[in-house]
Amino acid sequence: MTVRVVLPILIPLAVATACLLAWRWRRLQRVLALTGAGGHLAASLWLLEEVSARGIQVVQVGNWPAPFGITLVADLLAAMMVAVTGLIGAAVAVYSAATVDPRREAFGYYLLLHILLAGVSGSFLTGDLFNLYVWFEVMLIASFVLMALGGERGQIEGAFKYVTINLLSSALFLAAVGLLYGSTGALNMAHLAVHLRDTPSGLSTVLAMLLLAAFGIKAAVFPLFFWLPASYHTPPTAVAALFAGLLTKVGVYALIRVFTLIFVQQPALTHQLILVLAGLTMVTGVLGAVAQDDFRRILSFHIISQIGYMIMGLGLFTPLAVAASVFYVVHHMIVKTNLFLISGLVHRLSGSYDLKSLGGLYSARPLLGVLFLVPALSLAGLPPLSGFFAKLFLVKAGLAGGSGWIVAVALVVSLLTLLSMMKIWGEVFWKSGPANAPESTAPAPLGMWLPAVLLALITLAIGAAVGPVFELAARAAEQLMFPDTYIQAVLGGKT
């Protein structure tokens, strides 16, 4: 069934096209965007079911055989990522319909949302390195416009930094792809893996480092993370939530893909370096967050620190560790999107993102307080929430791999994360409200509550059903650590 693999890309593209044709009818665009996001979610779950039941699914687009044509590959990792993308896309679409102002809607907000979803799904599903670059660009161009759309002063400033650093990263990526093609004559990732398998040359190490830098910028890994907190708090909350949930995770996905499939010749060098970067990313991210006083800036810095955990598993490079990484990415995408959505709710109800001028929300809105605690405590890693298990598996993998120091770092950072989540809790919800608090500015519509509650319930569900979810992640890691099935599926025995 080749349809299932292409549908998660085709549906958002078709919706974007339909939105273009409905350019003058805002309401119609909104309906199209909501139905399309629902369809994308359904298609991505359909794909996950297929991949989980029958193994890696491959489509040779245009029926050009690999390695000459472009291959779409859905292994378990890709299918899981696409499924979470579908979930986040749907949540953000509902949230957007309730919050995005008419001006942004009139200038193609929903169109861009769906182009972004197509770009992210394409990045996850492609099996070709140059095609990955193309999907990256599709995603980035949509995100550039979403970041700047509306033209508020802060937004333009954030967008400028974001665009500049991402163009630099794209240039590095493209240079690496060109050099790889020049030295091996291959762009198909499975084909590249075969070419580079037994020949650790100086050039392949250089290329690995180039790609590490390129994807490291996109994933906001130390020391190339500074663009993220400078820009993520500027666009509307729905956009920030979408970016926080998806964009950096595409970078993490690309790192996992490339460093389990292609560059596995010298793990003592490359993966050890990734492990050190993971530790530094965790620490700098969380320290940055402690110093902040703006709700969304704190959350932005926590994205960075959490990226450290995700690549920690990749750096340890054992089946258990990579499984923990995959589990962590899934957990994090849901939790982080939810935290941003809730920051938008807080802003709607009390008119501010600044911790100093917020307060007393728990007595006014106890439900919102509880809703915040679920993802916040999950992010910090408290049992029995999903984040606890994610960290538990990483710690187990770290101890089993004999890297005690990274485990120590991870645990300390986890404590600091808890501290900073408690700071938000204390300032926004617990302390008594400011004396001259403006009356609740506007009631929050159902469309803002619904996605946040839904994502919180899913966080709880992952915590409750940790067995099956982790089993899926473990099978994904199995495919990643022993890529022969992947290569076989793509190249069909022609090695």
Binding site: T2, V3, L13, A14, L20, L21, W23, V61, G62
Partner: protein, 137 residues
């Protein structure tokens, strides 16, 4: 400033450019050309109209909103992959039907041309969107 020479010349040049753009689109399958080059040439015809008669006249000559061209083009390109999907083959697999020609032999109509026609419309829409917007600034 309106130039009489340019206005008169563009009246004859624009149809020629449009005809040439279709010719380039059609020959593009086996020879240099195709949807991208054809679309550029077609938008040159309307850009000429902008220079000679102004944006409003060019918009009238185009008759439709460039946004609509973009959407229609993307839709055309996307749907060109669907026959393959319906036939159970990978997305975008090229399909061919031999159309018998009255004069001599037959002509191979394929989804490739269908896709290229989509590219033609997208390029036309995108370039004109830029040209019109810049000219109106």
């Amino acid at each position: 400033m309106r130039s009489l020479i340019l206005v008169t010349a563009s009246r004859y040049l624009a149809p020629l450019l449009l005809a040439a753009s279709v010719w380039i689109l059609l020959r593009g399958h086996n020879e240099p050309g195709g949807g991208f080059a054809g679309g550029l040439l077609a938008s040159a015809a309307f850009a000429l109209k902008v220079v000679s008669n102004g944006v409003a006249a060019a918009r009238r000559a185009l008759r439709v909103d460039p946004h609509w061209l973009l959407g229609a083009g993307l839709l055309t390109a996307l749907t060109s992959g669907l026959p393959a999907l319906l036939a159970g083959r990978p997305f975008l697999t090229a399909g061919w039907i031999a159309v018998p020609l009255p004069a001599a032999g037959s002509w191979d109509a394929g989804t490739v041309l269908w896709f290229d026609a989509g590219v033609y419309l997208v390029v036309l829409g995108a370039v004109l969107l830029i040209v019109f917007t810049l000219a109106e600034e």
